[in-house]
């Protein structure tokens, strides 16, 4: 899990092209949207692209996506549980 979280943080920085950020700058439990990183609805769609391309997880409904993408932790948990199902 710890490794997945660190990988995810790097992938998020790369996918969203976040300027001057390193994985340590992202708080695992903090909300990704609203305050914090200043991400918007397009970023949330971009993160769904990341999940699909890198982890094979396809989210059809963006409203469901928002819940999964609440924080790095929730993303990691969703990926883990999805893997278990496989």
């Amino acid at each position: 899990m710890e490794q997945l979280i660190n990988t995810l943080k790097s992938e998020i920085i790369e996918a969203l092209n976040l300027p001057d950020m390193v994985p340590e700058d992202i708080d695992t439990n903090a909300p990704l949207f609203g305050t914090g990183l200043g991400l918007d609805s397009i970023d949330s769609l971009e993160l769904m692209v990341l999940l699909e391309r890198n982890y094979g997880i396809r989210i059809e409904d963006p409203r469901e996506g928002r819940r999964i993408l609440e924080s790095v932790k929730s993303m990691a948990e969703y990926i883990e549980s999805h893997r278990e199902q496989l």
Partner: protein, 402 residues
């Protein structure tokens, strides 16, 4: 001092959409309250058949025959525009010899059907692509062809402001007349369904696999459509000299930009309100005088909520409104023009179409579109909304001649 006081008449109109291939066919189908949306048949797309949409029931070859177009390379967007613009000129009774008119066109993707077909071949150099096709790949090619095919002698314009493009073309045409640049303007929009646009909207996760549900609580997204519609705008005295009567009067228009987000509408409906208010101000009409609102109503989560809030706050809960997107699909740059022609048809024939797909109102507003056909309705003033990416919002008002 610059004074705008010319009355702008609509003296001709043409339309081709999933509803039909001429105005009357479209009005009849709309009146019948049956949606013509069907599975999309897109070549070489994995999404083909999985999504429904509003395809025009004519092949490119059939359009070439119908418009007497010999040119083999015109793209589908241009071909659709040729049908609609020809109908508009014919119905306005404009002869070849009097075509001293300006055309204002609109498209979002223009020659995309050709670009996506030959993109790979051009990049890889697999085979030589005919230069005729290459010349028709951009947006401006449509405008150039319309001018040439109809022997128009004046400047031609091409507007591309995403999904509000068509309404902006009509508004721009009206302003050209107000400014005295021309007494007669051919204005319209066109777009065709492409793999590129379908995938684009899929990447935004706002496409419904089933029929869209405008203003419904459980809506998910839009259906794509294609088509074209053109209007002939004419200064009143110019039309009277030709013994022409108006199909409708363009009495108001307004374009504003909302500064919320590049793809989303402001959730408080402010952008939509500003555009509608501006158009009413131009027409010197108050909200009570508007009989029907032909909404943008794409059935996306954001648009319908914002538009619903805006309508409620200006017009209250009892205003009649509806969306034709569950009949035509979202025809992008053509949508404002298609909605305009359908609105003029309803004013002439005195009916209001039901918004198909609507069951339960959006919880936040409780606003209900017209969901059963209304007959023998007197529609004096109707508002047409078009909202696009970039926060580009345009409203038009059409009035029935006395």
């Amino acid at each position: 001092m610059y004074v705008e006081n010319k009355e702008i008449w609509i003296t001709g109109m043409g339309i081709v959409s999933a509803l039909g291939t001429d105005p009357n066919a479209c009005f009849t189908q709309l009146h019948s309250a049956i949606s013509p949306l069907r599975p999309l048949l897109l070549h070489e797309s994995i999404h083909s058949e999985h999504y429904i949409g509003g395809a025009v029931p004519l092949s490119d070859t059939e359009i070439r025959q119908a418009t007497n177009t010999r040119h083999h390379a015109y793209n589908r967007t241009t071909l659709l525009a040729l049908i609609a613009s020809q109908q508009a000129l014919d119905s306005a009774g404009i002869e070849d010899s009097t075509r001293d008119i300006i055309s204002v066109n609109a498209t979002t993707v223009g020659g995309m059907p050709l670009t996506e077909k030959y993109f790979d071949a051009i990049i890889t150099g697999k085979y030589q692509v005919n230069t005729d096709f290459i010349n028709e790949m951009d947006c401006g090619s449509l405008s150039r062809v319309i001018r040439r095919q109809h022997n128009l002698n004046r400047m031609h314009f091409m507007i591309s402001t995403a999904c509000s493009s068509g309404s902006n073309a009509i508004m721009f045409g009206a302003r050209l007349i107000q400014a005295g640049k021309s007494s007669i303007v051919l204005a319209g929009g066109s777009d065709s369904i492409s793999k590129f646009v379908l995938n684009g909207f899929l990447s935004l996760k706002n496409v419904d696999k089933n029929m869209c549900r405008p203003f419904d609580r459980d809506r998910f997204g839009l259906n794509l459509g294609e088509g074209s519609a053109y209007l002939v705008l004419e200064e009143k005295t110019h039309a009277q000299k030709r013994y022409k009567t108006p199909l409708a009067i363009l009495s108001g228009y307004g374009n504003i930009n909302e500064n919320f987000h590049i793809t989303g509408s402001s959730p408080d409906g402010q952008g939509a309100m500003n555009a509608m208010n501006l158009a009413m101000q131009k027409a010197a009409l108050c909200p009570e005088q508007i009989d029907f609102i032909h909404t943008h109503g794409t059935s996306t989560l954001d648009n319908d909520l914002a538009e619903s809030i805006a309508i409620k706050s200006i017009f209250g809960s009892s205003i009649r409104f509806g969306s034709s997107k569950s009949y035509t699909g979202h025809t992008l740059a053509a949508s404002g023009c298609i909605s305009s022609v359908l609105t003029i048809g309803m004013m002439q024939k005195g009916f209001i179409f039901p918004t198909l797909g609507f069951l339960n109102p959006i919880e936040e507003t409780g606003m209900k579109p017209v969901s059963k056909v209304q007959e023998n309705v007197h529609l004096k003033h109707c508002l047409v909304n078009s909202f696009g990416f970039g926060g580009n919002n345009t409203s038009l008002i059409f009035s029935k001649p006395d």
